[in-house]
């Protein structure tokens, strides 16, 4: 199952995506965060805004991803995690985070990002670190929005970030509840 997702992701990345300049994207995102910081002057408000923006991106992005990869419904939350990591991230950012740290009830997991392309060239000023800015918080919003379209209500947040001095970046995804009660009609 895992190999299948990995190859789906890679094939979709190779064939079904229009490539754009990575540098333009990271510079745009960087100036976006800086402008938000200047406008709001409060880094936790910036985090919230990034999350909201990510949410709006996520609800649309998930349909785009499904159209390009023609994946079927996931068998369970662990399959969802694999799809996010191997297909979603691969398709849009060309990185594959590792899925780890499953909680005992299998409702929470962590995505460990060894290298986040959004972070290239970026260095947080000390005030941003002290006030708790999560630079790539938009990714958390994207995951939350995408999963909500897939009928899962989740809480997604950054736990560690290389820009704040940790060795890896870690996003924690927690399933709060499934949003539809009915079992979808299956093929058999």
């Amino acid at each position: 199952m895992e190999k299948q997702y990995k190859s789906i992701g890679e094939e979709a990345w190779k064939n079904n995506t229009e490539k754009a300049s990575a540098e333009l994207f990271i510079f745009t995102y960087g100036s976006l965060v800086v402008q938000l910081a200047k406008d709001y002057e409060d880094y936790s408000a910036v985090n919230k805004q990034l999350d909201k923006m990510g949410y709006n991106i996520g609800v649309r992005l998930v349909d785009d991803m499904m159209a390009r990869t023609s994946l079927e419904r996931c068998s369970g939350f662990s399959a969802t995690a694999e799809v996010i990591a191997k297909v979603g991230f691969k398709l849009f950012l060309n990185v594959v985070p590792t899925v780890t740290n499953w909680s005992a009830d299998a409702k929470e997991f962590s995505l460990i990002l060894d290298d986040n392309p959004l972070n290239d060239f970026c260095e947080l000023p000390p005030k941003a670190v002290a006030d708790g800015l999560w630079y790539s918080n938009v990714l958390c919003g994207v995951i939350r929005g995408a999963l909500e379209m897939m009928q899962m209500q989740t809480e997604v947040a950054y736990v560690r970030d290389v820009l704040r001095g940790d060795d890896v970046s870690e996003i924690r995804v927690k399933l709060v509840r499934m949003l539809d009660e009915e079992v979808p009609a299956s093929d058999d």
């Binding site: 965060v33 970026c122 260095e123």
Partner: protein, 134 residues
């Protein structure tokens, strides 16, 4: 041959964005260094018109001190105060410092022409100095 160097990055409005003393430090020269570099800026402007290269070699002398300059395309000056003559090593040092400066510019949180306060930048400059100047 003394091994003291004073390195400064001067912005377009002639104020220093970054300064550091490398090697053995002598107390009385601290303000003198700034003064010498500032006075040399005019000569850097003159030399700029004579050459299209970034590295301007030695532009000025003050007693025992030589001032070498490197001008980036955005008119940011990298200035080095040194006693020894080491054209090639200094050129390589300047080139690498230029690359470091470019990376700083690419940081979205850095506003151009403001002082560079990053600790990482400082460490890297010192590493480069050890590599090329000592």
């Amino acid at each position: 041959m003394s091994s003291t160097y004073y390195f400064a990055i001067v912005g377009t409005n002639d104020s220093p964005l970054y300064e550091t003393e490398l090697g053995v430090q002598r107390d009385e020269s601290k303000y003198l260094n700034q003064f010498i570099v500032h006075a040399a800026l005019d000569l850097v402007d003159d030399a700029q018109f004579m050459s299209t290269a970034c590295y301007l070699k030695i532009v000025d002398r003050y007693n025992d001190w030589n001032v070498s300059a490197y001008v980036t395309p955005s008119n940011t000056r990298l200035m080095l105060l040194h006693e020894a003559k080491a054209d090639d090593a200094i050129r390589l040092f300047f080139t690498d410092c230029h690359e470091l400066y470019l990376k700083t510019l690419l940081n979205p949180f850095y506003e151009p022409n403001t002082p560079i306060q990053s600790q990482a930048f400082d460490t890297k400059v010192n590493v480069l100095a050890k590599k090329y100047l000592f």
